[in-house]
Amino acid sequence: MTKLFLTILLMGIFLISINALLGSKVSPLYEIKYPAYFGDRIFIPADNTTTEAGVKLGRMLFYETALSAGNTISCGTCHKQELAFTDGKKMSTGIDGSLQSRNTMSLANLLWVSNFFWDGRAAGLEEQAKTPLTSPHEMGQSLAISVAKLKKIENYPLLFKEAFASDSISEQMIVKALAQFERTLVSADSRYDQYLRGEYKPTKSELNGISLFYTSPDPLKNIRGADCAHCHGGPKTYTELFQNNGLDSLPSDRGRELVTGLDIDRGRFRVAGLRNIAATAPYMHDGRFETLEEVVDHYNEHVVSNILTSPFLRDRSNTLNGKSLDLPKDEKKDILAFLNMLTDSAFISDRNFSNPFSK
């Protein structure tokens, strides 16, 4: 059984690579540029390499209202570029007028993510895209109908041909092109990046914010910190972890537990990347906090400490035997100063990511 499976798997991989080779002949590969300090732990499936034509098509599909029932909304309706691909709402409204059950996530640096959504239930961007496209509460249209509609819209048959070297349009091609476009959404030109590249001199408050963000407190040694990086670690401010950050004593949304079935995963959500965080209010999976001040207050004073809460948020304090972080006002301001450094205005206004249909 395993042998047969392996043989088939190998054949599959072989065929996929041939497909990829053929594909790349048709359109040049798209080079996704990112700084070395982001690391190369990136996720691009072998059967969907990123090409110039694929990204161009994906960008159009991202803003294409014909992909929704009634032709009224697109991905870009909930994921607006000027808000780092969020929409400023606690819960976004879908095609049927109903509210989403979780807050819309920002789309930046998805190249480094392998499990999508707040609970990580979608493995890969291709699989992820099927949910908003077909869910009756989001865009509400089957992929088959989307294919039929696109076939009748001028330009699309040609664009698909350029991207996938095929005379027809398939459901899989739609999600593949969307995924290719989303992989190019790299945000790496904030003031923090300019500082990392040696091009910007942070203020005293920003510098102290960086230090607090990365340091674990130890009152015995007089080391001050907020230890945010334990979860939001590294220059990407992202590590793929699922944690319970102490929002509720009885989580009403079970989060990761819904995916794994494990009760130790109750109320765990994927650690959010903090890039462009000042542009993506409200915050958390349920959009409960309207401002970053409230977020910092949460971590500093209001973390619910029970067996579900991450051990890294319990009993960490800047005062001896303290039960919360206990940072004074000015240090909280320093952390906010750092969070505000993460806004990347070049990303938010990049013409390569904007709606190609609006002039």
Partner: protein, 169 residues
């Protein structure tokens, strides 16, 4: 073309089949051993409790020694037929063990680093501490790696050991 289609169909069926398996296994935390193994293993808490236990010591955050009891890592790897002892030579020395935890945390060891023919240090997969089961925020299984300056590899809520070759692309 028909052959290609057929392969893809079978491929996707097998993928679904395999995913289905891991879904049901995940309902109660259990330990999987996968990758370059002679035998894929899934050990429940009960399976592990029946294996030989030894004690290992780890300092807590306050610097106090804490006793943990668990199964030597090498015994678990041996059960899955991972290369150990005399087999750990040549290309087998470029094999590694990736430890995966419930929250997505991952740490890595080279196989030689955890093998008794290379080192006297005994790493265990602990299932109890000071006579009681591990608290659920760290258990049911925690890796205890004695003798390290940082406890970062003594990972909580271990779910899987994956054995692979380090292959540079």
């Amino acid at each position: 073309m028909i052959l290609i289609r057929f392969c893809f169909v079978v491929l996707s069926i097998s993928v679904i089949f395999f995913q289905g398996n891991s879904q049901t296994a995940a309902t109660k935390p259990s330990l999987k051993v996968s990758g370059q193994v002679a035998k894929l293993l899934t050990l429940t808490a009960e399976d592990l409790s029946k294996m030989k236990h030894v004690t290992a010591i780890l300092k807590d955050r306050g610097g106090k020694n804490v006793n943990y009891s668990g199964v030597p890592l090498q015994d678990i790897l041996g059960l899955a037929g991972v290369s150990t002892g005399g087999q750990l030579r040549g290309e087998n020395l470029s094999k590694y063990l990736l430890v995966k935890c419930a929250d997505g945390y991952e740490v890595l060891f080279s196989l030689a680093e955890v093998d008794s023919s290379f080192t006297d240090r005994v790493i265990i997969l602990a299932d109890s501490t000071e006579g009681s089961p591990l608290p659920s925020d760290r258990g049911p299984f925690r890796l205890i790696v004695p003798g390290e300056k940082k406890p970062a590899r003594s990972s909580y809520q271990v779910l899987e050991f994956v054995i692979r070759f380090a292959a540079d692309k």
